[in-house]
């Protein structure tokens, strides 16, 4: 089969698989989040944690619970990393230095999984399994809980309560993430991903050289790494490593797993809102942006051979695994940057300026197409709120979305949400570019070097976690700044989304009439897509002009 045919085929299989799981998974999530009886094991957990599972929380209480939980997660992970040399299964690895421990703790608790370290040398097996992997589960659940609270804001009326964080978290982990991760891990093991508790295995090669073969509980971590849109690799090479991602099949499975939950969540939104068409519109916008990005990136990689290595090889294969080739690498790269996953199977740094720029642009969209687990849905819903506001004015009414009016209060929270990430990205990059020491961390000169810094800050602020490579980011400055940016980039938007949810939940919905802006039609999908693209393009155009555009245009 030709590369082109295989490329089209894998994209078709991926889309078909996602379409198949859209309804069952979305409906399952709706049932999990929609209430219903507690499981016995859940009740035991609630008793142990001292949680009253039957209370409903007002949004500030929900937020406090979430922040407390995340703060404990960060502190726990930090202590774990600092003390790992005294714990079992550490493979004799040293304690992690404070700045790197902070960066990593912030990174995993915020679902970013930015890694300023190499998986082979820094964390031992226990930290991987009991520290990082646990955060992979709960940080994904936290994002989905926030999405659930926002949906409740739309569907509830005249209440300030948006659900119970502890039950949301517990249910999402126990009823969604654990079963799916278990299933995926078994599939991955069957497809060749390693799973053991070995340390590095020293072997002598036929040629007489020495080689160290790493081992570890890789498949179990790989499953939740992609399923929870985390992206932190067991090994430094992440999904380019043959033990994490051995074949084209596992590659496709991993792409599917990172997309499956964010893609299904609009169904949950439609189901809980009582109108599936609302979900279709959202997922259509996500699909449109995703398909466009895939097409542009793949076309750039196929037809715009630009680097000397590319010219020598006849194709842009530098930094890409030959077992994946251009099609599978581009598909993975776009999916991982659009989902806030951040796992990588190729070096985005080595892409064409257009392709690399697309991965950067994909993150700048704000992780909404389809975005991270939960964060994708709440991100696109906030943008939908902004779209409804502007479009709603144009039909001559105080704008309303799903019957909820968008007044000053709602617009305040939506605007603050809109403002946060660009402020973090641009301020962070501006600071890095202003300090000569931080500029020195770039390994490339000119626009490409600038893209590396811009990419790092964009990845951190959007909680993506992928790296452009080429930037020596394990310095005290970058560890600290990126750690802070990740925390702010995660929790400030969460504050605004929960406040928005509370404000929406307090309203009495307005009846739908012929004068109401319809938000379930292709017209609205087109409008939302336009608003997303224009807002992002206007915000980042100057920065992009000096990075990928300056590099790519001749």
């Amino acid at each position: 089969m030709s590369d082109t045919a295989a490329g089209w085929l894998q994209a078709a299989v991926l889309v078909a698989a996602l379409a198949l799981s859209y309804r069952p998974l979305g409906d399952h999530l709706a049932r999990v989040l929609g209430g219903g009886p507690h499981w016995r094991v859940e009740r035991l957990l609630y008793r142990a944690a001292g949680v009253n599972e039957d209370t409903d929380q007002r949004w500030p209480v929900y937020l406090r619970s979430l922040l407390a939980f995340s703060a404990v997660s960060v502190l726990f992970l930090y202590a774990f990393l600092r003390l790992q040399d005294r714990l079992p299964l550490s493979l004799g690895r040293a304690a992690v230095p404070p700045d790197l421990a902070f960066n990593t703790a912030a990174s995993f608790a915020t679902n970013t999984d930015w890694q300023a370290y190499a998986g082979e040398t820094v964390p031992g097996h226990l930290v991987q399994m009991a520290g990082l992997a646990v955060q992979n589960f709960v940080s994904a659940a936290v994002g989905m809980a926030v999405a659930a609270a926002l949906i409740r804001g739309f569907t509830r009326k005249r209440t300030r309560c948006v659900g119970n964080f502890w039950t949301d978290l517990t249910r999402l982990v126990l009823r969604v993430l654990l079963p799916l991760a278990l299933l995926s891990a078994v599939v991955l093991v069957a497809a060749g991903v390693v799973q053991n508790l070995h340390g590095p295995l020293g072997i002598t090669t036929l040629a007489g050289g020495h080689q160290s073969l790493p081992g570890g509980p890789v498949a179990s971590q790989e499953a939740i790494k992609v399923l929870g849109t985390n992206g932190g690799g067991f090994f430094n090479a992440n999904s380019a490593h043959p033990f994490e991602n051995p074949s084209g099949l596992t590659n496709l499975i991993e792409i599917y797993l990172m997309l499956v939950i964010p893609v299904a969540l609009p169904r949950t939104f439609g189901a809980l809102a009582g109108d599936h068409r609302q979900g279709y519109v959202i997922v259509a916008v996500m699909a449109l942006l995703w398909a466009g990005s895939v097409a542009l990136t793949t076309a750039n990689e196929l037809h715009r051979v630009s680097s000397p290595a590319g010219h020598a090889a006849g194709a842009m294969l530098e930094g890409k695994e030959t077992r994946f080739g251009i099609w599978s690498s581009a598909l993975f790269a776009v999916s991982t940057t659009l989902t806030s996953c951040g796992a990588v199977n190729s070096a985005h740094d080595s892409y064409t300026p257009g392709g690399g720029g697309m991965t950067l642009f994909a993150m700048m969209l704000g992780e909404i197409a389809p975005g991270g687990a939960g964060s994708g849905l709440y991100g696109i819903l906030v943008l939908a709120v902004i779209t409804v506001f502007v479009a709603g004015l144009m039909v001559g009414r105080t704008p309303e979305y799903l019957g909820k009016k968008l007044r000053g209060q709602e617009m305040r929270y939506a605007s603050l949400y809109l403002l946060t990430t660009p402020a973090l990205v641009l301020t962070g990059t501006g600071l890095a570019m202003a300090f000569p020491g931080e500029r020195a961390a770039m390994r490339n000169p000119g626009p490409h070097g600038f893209s590396e810094v811009l990419y790092a800050l964009t990845s951190a602020a959007n909680n993506n976690g992928s790296a452009f490579a080429g930037l020596a980011a394990d310095t005290v400055w970058y560890n600290t700044v990126l750690g802070v940016v990740m925390l702010l980039g995660r929790f400030l938007p969460v504050v605004f989304v929960l406040a928005l949810a509370g404000s929406l939940a307090g309203q009495q919905p307005v009846p739908v009439t012929a004068g109401t802006l319809p938000t379930h039609r292709p017209q609205f999908a087109g409008l939302l897509t336009g608003v997303v693209l224009i807002v992002v393009a206007l915000t980042y155009f100057p920065a992009l002009a000096l990075g990928p555009l300056a590099e790519g245009l001749h």
């Binding site: 605007s415 009495q508 920065a543």
Partner: protein, 702 residues
């Protein structure tokens, strides 16, 4: 009351087109508004002003044509924004001045110890400003009414042209729903005693002046929400521009302050930011031009959101009176004979119903009016509450003929009393008319010839019905397309109500409605999330007017009603609610359209400015110079000049409002997206290119 559709609009200012004199007149005001203490209320334009100050300082330190040109146009941008607001306010100011002229000091004739019917009141002369609520004053023909109040004694014709612009006098009388008088209006005839209800300085005219002048202007909820969005976009662009400098330094193309400020001003939504206040003021002004006074901008906005419209049947949906629609003879009687009899019996009937019978007879059966001479010995019998019928007695050859028309029971009894035996057919016809919501009038005839027993019989029935005003069905259809439900309120029985509701095409009706039912209906609608609008004039409408989200009080109504509503219609035309809703919608659409336009504009400006800034170090970026602008300086100047001129160009649109045609939301949106979204995307490409073609010849900008 002015005829509904023909109501003159004396205050209407010249259409949308901007009059250069108006601009010149408002210019000093625009300069006065440069005061930063006033500017900070408008965050977008405040940023432009700060930017202009910065570039001024920078141009002083490093003078040159380019920095000074940019600085000049930045200041002009701010001035143009202020000009938009000043022009909008200017229209109101002219009106306020006219109103002030009517506020000449009046001497009031205060009555101390006035009591209804009492004659022992002491009269004294006090200045009009010395009146307090509860005082009684007497006003006679030729005098100005010294303050707002209710007539408590007498009836007078009053010239209210000072506030309504309508020169025909109106009747004001004690009691009932036409008792309110306004200070500054003139009594033309008779003598009335008025109880003052407003403190000096808080009278209707005072409030009107404050409203049209915009003195009491506050930001409306939607304006606040939009301002939040615009402010946050401004902050995003501020960050984008400020952080651009370190990027530029790294790229080896450090930017002068002037260029960075120019980029910022080009990006922030100045078009909508500049026109936002003017749009709001102009919206209120459009209401004033239609002789409606909104007590707050909030009320105008709420009007655009209305889901449910409550309309009184009588006077709003139907003409005030019932009219004859058909003559229905009993078997054996010729319809022409019935029409003739009905006509004769109504000749002296001056009630609107009576006149309508004559009109119908004339139109359908060509019966002409007969002069008195033609009718021998005619003796007209007027309607009384006891007899409940009216008619005529005539001489006929060898006898006398009596014709009566009136309520079915009354006429039937009269026929029976004269020995007639009305058949059951009459009863059927009468019931049929009642069932269809009409009013039956039975026509009976008794002929006496000599000593013979009189010939008494029923000739037939006149079908009177409520006549729905012309065009109402269309209007309700339009409202339905806008998503607004209409509910007719009537005191009629449900049967009648249903028939009229069907004919008029309203969505629902409330029959046998008492004032408290109206209140309950409003509450019920509001519970379900709907916004309710209604009109009212009577004192018993006041609670409902206050409860409704948009309550339009008729100027002819009581002062209680005018206090309770949040709008007053000076023409007292209840159907104007529909126009008010349209103006409310138009206001929001104008804001949305210009916001979209403003944001879409940015795309072209980026393509002008970014290549100009960086093509020197990254020549590839010159490919983004899609417009092929002449040079970096001419490109940036063109963008800034366009940005400033578009504000002036759009002032007329902001004042006039975006054209609004009632249609579904999806249709409206499609039209406005194409016009203002796509237009906003394309127009600046053309505009900037054209400006560049000219500016490239300016020395120093080449």
């Amino acid at each position: 009351m002015a005829a509904p559709e023909a109501g003159r609009r004396p205050h209407r200012a010249a259409g949308g087109l901007l009059n250069p004199r108006q601009l010149a007149r408002s210019f000093p005001d625009a300069l006065r508004k440069l005061d930063p203490r006033a500017m900070y209320r408008n965050p977008v334009m405040f940023v432009v002003e700060v930017g202009a100050v910065l570039t001024t300082l920078s141009a002083i330190r490093a003078p040159g044509v380019f920095p000074w040109v940019i600085t000049g146009w930045l200041w002009l941008t701010v001035v143009f924004a202020n000009l938009a607001e000043a022009v909008a306010e200017g229209r109101g100011k002219a009106q306020a001045a006219a109103l002030r002229r009517t506020k000449t000091t009046v001497t009031a004739r205060r009555l101390t110890g006035w009591r209804p019917g009492g004659a022992d009141a002491v009269e004294e002369e006090v200045p009009g400003t010395g009146l307090r609520p509860g005082d009684h004053v007497v006003v006679e023909a030729g005098q100005l009414i010294p303050g707002d109040g209710d007539v408590v004694e007498g009836i007078a014709s009053v010239d209210e042209s000072a506030i309504t612009g309508e020169s025909a006098p109106v009747i004001r009388e004690s009691g009932g729903d036409r008792s309110a008088v306004t200070g500054g209006t003139k009594v033309l005839s008779d003598r009335i005693v008025v109880r003052i209800t407003a403190r000096p300085g808080e009278t209707f005219i005072d409030r009107m002046i404050a409203l049209v002048e915009g003195a009491a202007r506050q930001k409306t909820p939607n304006e606040i929400a939009l301002n939040i969005l615009l402010a946050s976009l401004t902050i995003i662009f501020l960050i984008a521009v400020v952080t651009l400098q370190p990027f530029a330094v790294f790229a080896g193309a450090e930017q002068p302050l002037v260029v960075l400020v120019a980029l910022l001003v080009a990006l922030i939504p100045t078009t909508i930011g500049a026109l936002l206040p003017a749009i709001g003021i102009a919206g209120m002004d459009r209401l004033v031009q239609r002789n409606v006074l909104a007590m707050s901008g909030r009320a105008v906005e709420a009007a655009g959101d209305v889901n449910t419209l409550l309309l009184d049947k009588t006077g709003t949906i139907t003409l005030g009176n019932r009219q004859a629609a058909a003559f229905l003879p009993v078997p054996g009687v010729d319809v022409e004979d019935l029409a003739d009899a009905a006509h004769l019996s109504s000749l002296a009937d001056e009630t609107p119903e009576g006149r309508s019978i004559a009109v119908l007879a004339k139109q359908q059966y060509a019966l002409r009016a007969r002069g008195e001479g033609e009718l021998a010995g005619a003796a007209f019998v007027p309607f009384t509450a006891q007899s409940r019928m009216s008619g005529v007695d005539l001489d006929v050859p060898q006898g006398r003929r009596s014709l009566r028309k009136g309520a079915a029971t009354a006429v039937m009894r009269w026929v029976r009393d004269n020995g007639g035996h009305p058949t059951d057919d009459v009863g059927h016809v009468v019931d049929g008319i009642s069932a269809s919501g009409g009013t039956p009038l039975v026509v009976g005839q008794v002929t006496r010839r000599g000593a013979a027993p009189p010939d008494a019989r029923v000739l037939g029935v006149i079908h009177l019905k409520d006549v729905v005003k012309e065009g109402m069905r269309d209007r309700f259809g339009r409202l339905r397309r806008m998503g607004i439900r209409t509910i007719m309120i009537t005191g009629d029985n449900p049967l009648t109500a249903r028939a009229i509701a069907q004919e008029a095409g309203v969505d629902d009706f409330l029959a046998e409605a008492a004032p408290e039912d109206k209140m309950a209906l409003i509450r019920r609608e509001q519970e379900s999330g709907a916004l309710v609008a209604m009109t009212g004039d009577g004192t018993n409408d006041a609670p409902a007017l206050a409860q409704a989200d948009v309550g339009v009080a008729m100027n002819t109504g009581t002062s209680a009603a005018k206090e309770a509503g949040n709008m007053v219609d000076l023409d007292s035309n209840p159907t104007k609610l529909i126009e008010i809703v349209e103006i409310g919608k138009q206001l929001l659409i104008t804001r949305g359209a210009l916001t979209t336009f403003s944001i879409a504009n940015d795309v072209a400006k980026y393509f002008a400015i970014i290549p100009a800034m960086f093509a020197s170090v990254h020549p590839g970026l010159d490919r983004l110079n899609l417009m092929r602008l002449h040079s970096p300086t001419s490109a940036i100047t063109s963008a800034i000049v366009f940005n400033a001129l578009i504000i002036v160009a759009l002032i007329p649109l902001a004042l006039r409002g975006v054209r609004y045609r009632p249609s579904s939301a999806a249709e409206l949106l499609r039209r406005n997206i194409w016009r203002y979204g796509l237009g906003g995307l394309v127009l600046p490409f053309l505009g900037i290119k054209l400006l560049d073609l000219v500016l490239q010849f300016v020395p120093g900008l080449r």
